[in-house]
Assembly symmetry: C2
Amino acid sequence: MSNVAASVPTFRPNATKFTPAPARMPAAPAAKRGDEIDFTPIAASAREVKFHANQAIYFEGDDAEHCFKVISGTVRLCKITDDGRRQIAAFVGTGGFFGWTGATVHKYAAEAVTGVVLAKYPCARVDAAVATNPQFGRRLLGLITTQLHAAQEHLLLLGRKTAGERLATFLLDLICRRHGEAAQKGRLVLPMSRTDIADYLGLTVETVSSTLSSLRSQHVIAVPTPEIIDVRNAAALRDYAMMA
Amino acid sequence: MSNVAASVPTFRPNATKFTPAPARMPAAPAAKRGDEIDFTPIAASAREVKFHANQAIYFEGDDAEHCFKVISGTVRLCKITDDGRRQIAAFVGTGGFFGWTGATVHKYAAEAVTGVVLAKYPCARVDAAVATNPQFGRRLLGLITTQLHAAQEHLLLLGRKTAGERLATFLLDLICRRHGEAAQKGRLVLPMSRTDIADYLGLTVETVSSTLSSLRSQHVIAVPTPEIIDVRNAAALRDYAMMA
DNA sequence: CGGATCTTTGAGAGTGATCAATCACAGTGG
DNA sequence: CCACTGTGATTGATCACTCTCAAAGATCCG
């Protein structure tokens, strides 16, 4: 099982040293969200680790020794085919949890999108906590269930939506989740590249770019810099996303 | 939130009365699989219910009062857009579990593909069992985690694979899961229609049909009747599916 | 200022969708 | 018994959305 596909850089030596989540990720105090999990039952076994942008956190097929909670930054979870095609299953932002697998190995790779700080927990400890602390197990179950629902929603996007609908849905999702509260309402600061967006939405970079340009020309959004998107007409965006 | 999309029949009055999973689903004694769950902790609260082919079990948005285990037959889990586009997130076969949601409502619709017999469990009971019986919670967590991984694998298929690869992957999956052990190795008895397959794979009926014809003309498969597919060359099928 | 990476733009090509028959089969009623 | 009807599957022609290929522009950093 060749995890390291030829063309996909997972540990770029020339990446910035660490860049602790730059302006892209304002240092807001990680407002508690409903889908966030309380790890106090296993807090003692936590260790803090850091990764810089585009560094691999683990590969698909690696032994599942640890799972992680994002303290700051953004992580992508992805699968890669032998010929290099990549699909990003999810972006995990501050407060998010990933890396849990019932099996002995990880089923997908995890990579840092920005510089990230993570809390690292031994899977064995998590499993033990589940087996002894029903309340903890219940919360973890709720978290994984939420992730399953998100994945199913994404199936609809990848299977049945057009490029315009995908982009609009993506932007609206970001507005809702608001990784790192932007100062102004309607302003999105994207932590990820166009390539990442394309691999998340099942499109090519070129299609992402031209679709954004199309939205821009209709004054639905403005793109002052590539990583900043101002939503000028949220209603039109919702129409585009095929949502009531 | 209009669940009942105009063109999609969810409760056809002219459907066969019950047809308890015909030849399509041989009455094999549901060999225990690893991803099956033991519901003895809440067995007392179970009730057996039946649905005939194409009958809705619940709609997206319905109150999440029950979850289900498949005793016999096949169920589809799907989402439908306002304009009628449908995406099937998963097929659930004998022994499978569905309908669990941490939230108060179901996040997707469930419909019988064939005539099905289900064991029905109150969500509240399941939740209570999770909160009091750590072993049960642990098993349920493992089950949902497996479903999440399956969904993520499907994301790769919908986002990055060609029509041929999708069909090949689908057939190989069926061979592995082998809903109802077919007598002979390599013979698949499809419980679902071409339309269902198309909505599962993010394609149209026509593309599914012509892709199957293409595989047939290359002697990779044989299709004696529309619902029977004999895999003649599994190796070629694996090549098609882009798998090592 | 030069080099690398990322983004944008545009022209052309191709896969899968759309549109339109035809076929196959089961159930129904004459 | 057999035309009639309705549903689902198949096939083919055409279309279009997105990909591919190519190049230029933008930004960052040395």
